[in-house]
């Protein structure tokens, strides 16, 4: 918790003021890193209200490979509505790249399945990576991915996760959405599945 508050203080004191794409104006710092010990619990922010349901449903929606807001709407989650087209489509965003990254030869690559398999069969790999930044598809996405990629690491039977986010709105909530809660969920779901597969 303190980590997030310190980041805000840091931005306030040392951030550079800039105009931006949205015309809002920002104060920003570059290349900040935060760490959370997930063995000690789930680092949801407590100094502002979090819509936990949105976080969980959005993550499940990503993992299902879905790119249409219908599922989110059906579950009372409206965070992506403003970018969707008339049919609810967002383009080849996160879910599409995670589960069916398109190749020039027509293959569709399921990075999540690949990750889970590698976590089980080759845990010491230095290639446990899922990326959503498909350069060729970025222009067709409603929004280019903010949390561009994540990497897993197994040591001593414990799973670590690192999430790379190119941009995050610290006040409006991206830090907890994408940067923290989602990351943890992701990590947990992956580790549960990995365990299940190991047991099976």
């Amino acid at each position: 918790m303190q980590t997030c508050l310190e980041l805000m203080q840091h931005v306030l004191e040392n951030g550079t003021e800039r105009g931006d794409r949205t015309g809002t104006g920002t104060r920003s710092v570059f290349g900040h890193q935060m760490r959370f010990d997930l063995a000690a619990g789930f680092p949801l922010l407590t100094t502002k209200k979090l819509h936990l349901k949105s976080i969980v449903h959005e993550l499940l929606w990503f993992l299902a490979g879905d790119t249409n807001v219908r599922y989110l709407k059906d579950n009372g989650v409206s965070i992506r509505d403003e970018w969707a087209d008339a049919d609810g489509e967002l383009g080849p965003v996160y879910g599409h790249q995670w589960r069916s990254w398109p190749a020039p030869d027509g293959r569709q690559i399921d990075q999540i399945s690949g990750l889970l398999e590698a976590l089980c069969t080759n845990p010491e790999s230095r290639r446990h990576i899922v990326s959503a930044w498909n350069v060729a598809d970025v222009d067709q996405m409603a929004l280019p991915p903010c949390h561009c990629l994540f990497q897993f690491y197994v040591a001593d039977g414990k799973l670590s996760c690192m999430l790379y986010q190119r941009s995050a709105d610290i006040f409006l909530g991206i830090p907890f959405f994408s940067g923290i809660a989602k990351w943890i969920d992701e990590r947990r779901i992956a580790s549960n599945k990995a365990r299940m597969t190991l047991d099976a």
Partner: protein, 234 residues
């Protein structure tokens, strides 16, 4: 203030003290840490090349220029006396022909015989290819470096100034999947340029730390600025 190089020395010490011991793909065995980060102040022309070990910085510069030119064949490197990428083509040549050729002899053939280099000197769609000619599912190619330079000039407050080497569709045909896989840039309101490089894996002792992590990153940063300013002046 402590010298910035202590970040590297401290990291080595941390790995030694609490790194996880593990066997790896190469069978060598490693001691590793996850998610470390180092920062260097590059203002006033500073270049943080390590001083506690010998750094082949000219090799790093030549490799960087090769990346930026979109190169994926080792011949231009060898013509410049850079031998760091020879291992992989050499191994596949030995494997496929059964010929027990020495590295020196193999490299000489690459240099002497352009057709041989075309056949045996290729590394697959590695860095240079992805940076300059990332191919989409529709066959269209994207020049990420050109896009980055354009954005640095025309839209410096963009939060999308990055280029990636991790093309999921082509990983299996690369000699090695990219280690330094994402570069992102940020321009402050007073015109200073920041660069962040994400590296999924690095051999701290053997030198990827300075090659990829430090010298290269700086060179790139400088190269991009110089190019950007040159183009602005032109």
């Amino acid at each position: 203030m402590r010298h910035p190089e202590y970040q590297y020395l401290d990291l080595l010490e941390q790995v030694l003290e609490r790194g996880d011991e593990r066997v790896d793909r190469t069978g060598v065995g490693t001691r590793s840490l996850f998610g470390a980060m180092v920062r260097f102040d590059l203002s006033d022309g500073r270049v943080p090349i390590l001083t506690t070990k010998r750094v082949y910085w000219k090799t790093a510069v030549k490799e960087m220029l090769w990346f930026l030119s979109g190169g994926t064949n080792i011949r231009p490197l060898l013509l410049d006396n850079v031998r760091i990428w020879s291992d992989w083509p050499l191994a596949s040549y030995r494997r496929e022909t059964g010929e027990d050729i020495s590295q020196e002899a193999f490299e000489q053939r690459i240099v002497d015989d352009e057709a041989f280099a075309t056949r045996w000197g290729e590394l697959g769609p590695v860095y240079g290819k992805q940076w300059r000619r990332w191919m989409g599912a529709d066959g269209h190619e994207h020049d990420q470096i050109a896009d980055l330079l354009q954005s640095l000039r025309e839209n410096p407050t963009s939060r999308r100034m990055l280029f990636h080497g991790w093309n999921v569709a082509e990983l299996s045909t690369m000699a090695l999947p990219p280690c330094h896989m994402v570069y992102q840039y940020h321009v402050t309101s007073d015109g200073r340029l920041n660069c962040l490089m994400f590296q999924r894996s690095v051999d701290l002792l053997l030198g990827a730390a300075f090659f990829s992590g430090i010298a290269k990153w700086i060179d790139e940063r400088k190269g991009a600025v110089d190019k950007a300013s040159r183009t602005l002046i032109a």
